[in-house]
Amino acid sequence: MKGALARKGFDGVTLLLLPAVFFVIALFIYPFLYGLFLSFAPKDGGWWLGNYAKFFSDPFLYDTIGKTLLVAVPVTIMNLACSVPVALRVRLMLKPKLLTTILVIPITLGTVLVAEGMLNYFGPRGWLNRFLMEFHLVSEPLHLIHNYWGVFLSLVITGFPFTFLLTLSYVTGIDPALEQAGAMLGARGWDRFRHILMPLLLPGLMITFCLSFVQAFSVFPSAVLLGAPAGITRVISVAAYTAAFEEYDYSMASAIAMIMAAVQVGIVALLLGLQSLFYSGPAGGGKG
């Protein structure tokens, strides 16, 4: 019996998995299933899909999906588009530690601190506007907070380091000899990027996009603190918050959370499906 289990790779060491399995069940699977079932039991009784029907018939609710995507997708693209050139440059540096550290600091600060700082810096009486007004670069203060751009900027500041670190790890995984080989064969910078780096980076960038997107999609603090939570940045998490803690309708809030999850999973699945169309082997040029 013991031998048979061991042959299937199941032995004493496997038991070490148990704490992790316990936490996954207790902290993820159970709450998820609880929420799922809760969402099928509307507060005022009635049809089991009542919450979902209500969500998709009320523009005030279903519009939040579009609004969230309108923030999350451009932010993710922006972060990714900035990360690739920076990572390509950092890779060539002999001492990249300092730059990496500076870039990573926003992660450690947390969204709320960044939001507070932005309120002071980008506000109508903030340093940026005072500077621009002082030098007559603008005639009236720029509106950079309590609207779409406030949330956008905040998500770029807090999301970029994360995107950058992931991108850097993929970029440094590409053997520099491949680019040199390209150069020896007459490929100039843009051709090397297009024909050699990009195809090898693409699978990694897809994963990075998914992770950054999921992070941006669940935006909540900056949407409330820096955005217009009743207007253009009424994102889906704000809707869920309102349902749960202002209307005390946990069932509806669960339904919104489930819809949120479904949208995220849908987009991630779409991207990973696309990824299978590209090369996804090792990014080394040597004998593997």
Binding site: M184, Y279, G288
Partner: protein, 348 residues
């Protein structure tokens, strides 16, 4: 721009520093079209730096590189049009063999049918037909090596650079590919510069060998010159003269040296007066004979099939490497001798 019919490549005091380290100290060399040059030296001697400088992957600190009367060290790697075979091959892992080989032609915007034709030709030259649609990861080491060579030569470069291309292959394949590289070089008529730390490889492939040490040229010569008459004792050591014995040289009618307490005649390389000297002898030139002048005790003896390879200790404590066709065993007392023209003597 056709550089294919160039006459000579000229390195003029090519130097490269890394901070305060002089990795290359003024390499000067003329390479003619059709020549096969080996850059030979121990690791850290600057041979890979030299190759990267030639390729344009490293800028020079000083000096110049000329292709006939055109100065090329100011051009980037993509402007020189040289072919390069990397040590780890550096094949593009996401492209098929055909795409890999055709990449250089594609960068020159050649018509599709010309690319297809020349890629087929190159694949035939490296004996790799029928593998065109595979990815590099699906090939063996030797096949990847051939793809790397085909990719470098398909653009018909004036100069092909090879960076220890055989070091990742097993012994048998290495011998096979060595012959292949020589054959391909002969059929192309370009110049080849080949970096290696393996003296056998350099001897068998090259028309001329450049021995580098600490970033400097120690000797440039044909394989026969380097094998038979190394200019310095360190070159001799690198070329297989494993016995480098400190001795006192007495210059008279003959040059007399003392090895293991015995007096022998040697051949002077750069001795101009009596004094301290180094005597260099290959193990295969020390023969075990009944009446040899050097008496020694066998320390170890390895069976090598045709002969034995051994280490013997002389009475004055000198270790001598020797080869013997007759069986020797550990602890046996033997007598060794060497012909005067096989003992090279250098001033110490």
């Amino acid at each position: 721009m056709s550089l294919r019919n160039f006459k000579a490549l000229r390195l003029d005091a090519m130097s490269r520093d890394f901070g305060s380290l002089n990795a290359l100290k003024g390499i000067t060399l003329n390479v003619e079209r059709g020549e096969f040059i080996a850059l030979l030296g121990p690791s850290g001697c600057g041979k890979s730096t030299a190759l990267n400088c030639l390729a344009g992957l490293l800028p020079l600190s000083s000096g110049a590189i000329w292709l006939d009367d055109k100065r090329i060290d100011t051009l980037g790697p993509e402007g020189r049009g040289f072919g390069m075979v990397f040590q780890n091959y550096a094949l593009f892992p996401h492209m098929t063999v055909r795409k890999n080989i055709g990449f250089g032609l594609r960068m020159q915007n050649r018509p599709k049918d010309e690319i297809a034709r020349r890629v087929e030709e190159a694949m035939r030259l490296v004996r790799l037909t029928n593998q065109g649609d595979k990815l590099p990861g699906q090939l063996s080491g030797g096949q990847q090596q051939r793809v790397a060579i085909a990719r470098a030569i398909v653009v018909e470069p004036p100069l092909v650079l090879m960076d220890e291309p055989l070091s990742n292959l097993d012994a048998k394949l290495r011998l096979e590919m060595r012959a292949e590289i020589r054959r391909i070089h002969a059929s192309l008529g370009c110049a080849t510069i080949y970096v290696t730390h393996d003296q056998d490889e350099a001897l068998s492939l090259a028309d001329r060998i450049v021995v580098l040490r600490d970033g400097q040229t120690r000797q440039i010569g044909t394989p026969a010159e380097l094998y038979g008459r190394p200019a310095h004792s360190d070159v001799a050591e690198f070329m297989g003269y494993r016995n480098i014995v400190k001795t006192a040289a007495i210059l008279g009618e003959h040059l007399e040296v003392t090895i293991g307490g015995a007096k022998l005649w040697g051949t002077s390389v750069d001795i101009v007066a009596s004094g301290d000297a180094l005597a260099a002898i290959r193990p295969e030139d020390l023969s075990v004979t009944a009446d040899g002048p050097i008496s020694a005790i066998v320390q170890t003896a390895e069976y090598r099939g045709r002969d034995f390879f051994g280490v013997a200790l002389t009475q004055d404590g000198t270790e001598l490497y020797f080869r013997s066709e007759v069986s020797v065993s550990q602890g046996e007392a033997i007598r060794l001798s060497a012909e005067p023209h096989r003992i090279l003597v250098y001033a110490a």
